[in-house]
């Protein structure tokens, strides 16, 4: 077995209220051929292969799915979606699992959730993302003083070239506020 598969898993259990049905619907006709696994550039780092994950989804193994790092390692390259002989929207199914993890605030998925959430916060505030503000908020949210150090050399390089600014670009105040509000309201009703 690939030693990379021996990843540390969390013992977190998922709320019974988590609804896998929409994801199951997306991949209902999976024939377990493994083309997705063979196409995946990140498979080497996964604890379960994409093919195994789809089986787990169909079997409703919630805890196992969300203890695994597999869906978080999808980089949306769309190779599996392109090649799936059943034409299943596999990248979208991965995204659906990421959305559940984000909603449930799962520990295992903390880094990615913080990354996406702070990104969206920055967008909601300014309409466009300010890369400097976003990375600062992201590091603050992770509460790990060592993480920013990995990016410090790059940050300094980008600042010195004037490619990131400390100030967000000036725009109309919160141009996306009504969109964010209406999307939230509509999803609440669903």
């Amino acid at each position: 077995m690939n030693p990379a598969r021996n990843l540390k898993r969390s013992n977190e259990t998922v709320q019974a209220s988590v609804n896998l049905a929409p994801v199951q619907e997306m991949i209902r006709s999976c024939i377990q051929c493994g083309t997705c696994t063979g196409s995946c550039p990140n498979e080497f780092a996964m604890d379960h292969t994409p093919r195994q994950l789809w089986r787990m989804v169909l079997m409703g193994l919630k805890d196992e799915i969300f203890q695994s790092k597999t869906f978080a390692l999808c980089s949306a390259c769309y190779c599996c979606t392109l090649r799936c002989p059943r034409g299943l929207p596999l990248t979208e199914a991965m995204e659906a699992l990421k959305q559940i993890a984000a909603r449930e605030n799962l520990k295992q998925y903390k880094h990615s959730v913080q990354f996406y959430k702070t990104f969206i916060q920055s967008v909601r505030r300014h309409g466009r993302v300010n890369e400097m503000e976003f990375m600062t908020l992201y590091f603050a949210a992770l509460k790990n003083p060592l993480t920013p150090l990995r990016f410090a050399p790059l940050g300094i390089k980008l600042l010195s070239k004037g490619k990131v600014s400390m100030l967000p670009s000036i725009m109309r105040k919160r141009p996306l506020e009504s969109i964010f509000r209406n999307v939230a309201a509509l999803e609440e009703r669903l």
């Binding site: 550039p41 990140n42 080497f44 780092a45 978080a72 390692l73 980089s75 949306a76 390259c77 769309y78 190779c79 979606t81 392109l82 990248t91 995204e95 659906a96 990421k98 959305q99 984000a102 880094h111 990615s112 959730v113 990354f115 996406y116 959430k117 990104f119 969206i120 967008v123 309409g127 466009r128 993302v129 300010n130 890369e131 400097m132 992201y138 990995r150 990016f151 050399p153 790059l154 390089k157 980008l158 070239k161 490619k163 990131v164 600014s165 670009s169 725009m171 109309r172 141009p175 996306l176 009504s178 969109i179 964010f180 209406n182 999307v183 509509l186 999803e187």
Partner: protein, 313 residues
């Protein structure tokens, strides 16, 4: 040719040189680009991971603003991630009327509306199909003779929507590279994933993907990209990757319009090669040589011309 222009957030910041060089190249081939007024973020890969509806409405807002201008039907998008987000709205609203309705119900409060009339087009698609290698050949000022260029396409301009190239074995950049006088570096990494945001959230995985790409690019003078995320991943972590792999994998990485702009001899302030993070000394030297040799040819032909004129007189 007129295009709406959606630069996207990266092109205002870390990919400023992609923005400037795109505009310069488009202008030099006679295209007119109209930046979408008051454009906003397309949601990047973040909105998708939070809410599907949000991931459609954010790009749709920009399409709706573009639709207000009647006579222009194409939106030019240089960033592959923005391109896919906008393209997704075009494809989904055209196929599924209930999605169109839902999106419009949200845009309505801002007095905006989409009608799936607009075509979302990637910069590479526009350069290849609306202008083509002939335009480059025709305007060529500095031939990249003796250069080997590795075309890197990445993922999201090719997949999942198959629009202008083979999504498994893309080749659309090759005639452009050849038109600029360079040779195409033979490799099969052009459509492989760079890891996207893994570099930020799961660096050890991202590093492996990028290392494999840089490894395969060995022997080329430069990699040419069409996406700010690919560009950043390929150029920004080279030192770390060299250390990690214990070998020299340094490689010049340019945006496609920077490369074309150099071949057309556009002003340096419009190409901003100084903003790239991994231009090697070897590449700079070689670039200077072709420039010098062109100066020499120009001088030579001028003296020749002068001589001929003297003879004629």
């Amino acid at each position: 040719m007129k295009y709406h222009y959606y630069p996207g957030c990266s092109l205002e910041g870390t990919a400023l040189e992609y923005n400037l060089s795109t505009q310069a190249v488009m202008k030099s081939v006679g295209a007119e680009i109209l930046e979408i007024e008051d454009w906003t973020c397309c949601g990047a890969s973040a909105a998708d991971s939070i809410s599907t509806l949000l991931s459609l409405v954010l790009p749709a807002r920009n399409i709706a603003i573009a639709e207000k201008t009647d006579d222009v039907t194409d939106i030019l998008v240089p960033c592959s991630a923005c391109y896919l987000n906008l393209k997704k709205v075009e494809e989904k609203t055209r196929r599924e009327p209930e999605i169109l309705e839902k999106v419009n119900s949200i845009l309505n409060e801002d007095h905006l509306k989409i009608s799936s009339r607009i075509h979302v087009r990637h910069l590479l698609d526009v350069i290849v199909n609306d202008f083509g290698p002939e335009t480059i050949r025709h305007n060529l000022k500095r031939a990249f003779t003796g250069f080997r260029i590795a075309p890197y396409y990445g993922c999201q301009c090719l997949r999942p929507y198959v629009v202008f190239d083979d999504p498994e074995v893309p080749r659309s950049m090759e005639p452009l590279i050849e038109a600029a006088g360079a040779e195409v570096h033979p490799w099969n990494m052009g459509a492989k994933c760079c890891g996207a945001s893994h570099m930020n959230t799961k660096m050890e995985v991202g590093v492996k993907l990028v290392a494999a790409i840089l490894q395969a690019a060995k022997g080329a003078d430069a990699i040419v990209t069409v996406c700010p995320m690919c560009q950043m991943n390929l150029e920004a972590y080279q030192k770390k990757i060299c250390r990690h792999q214990n070998q020299d994998l340094r490689m010049t990485v340019l945006y496609l319009p920077q490369f074309i702009g150099l071949a057309l001899d556009l002003p340096p302030e419009n190409l901003r090669i100084d903003l790239n993070l991994s231009i090697t000394n070897g590449f700079r030297q070689k670039l200077k040589q072709i420039k010098d040799s062109r100066d020499a040819t120009l001088n030579y032909s001028r003296t020749e011309m002068h001589k001929n004129q003297q003879i004629n007189y």
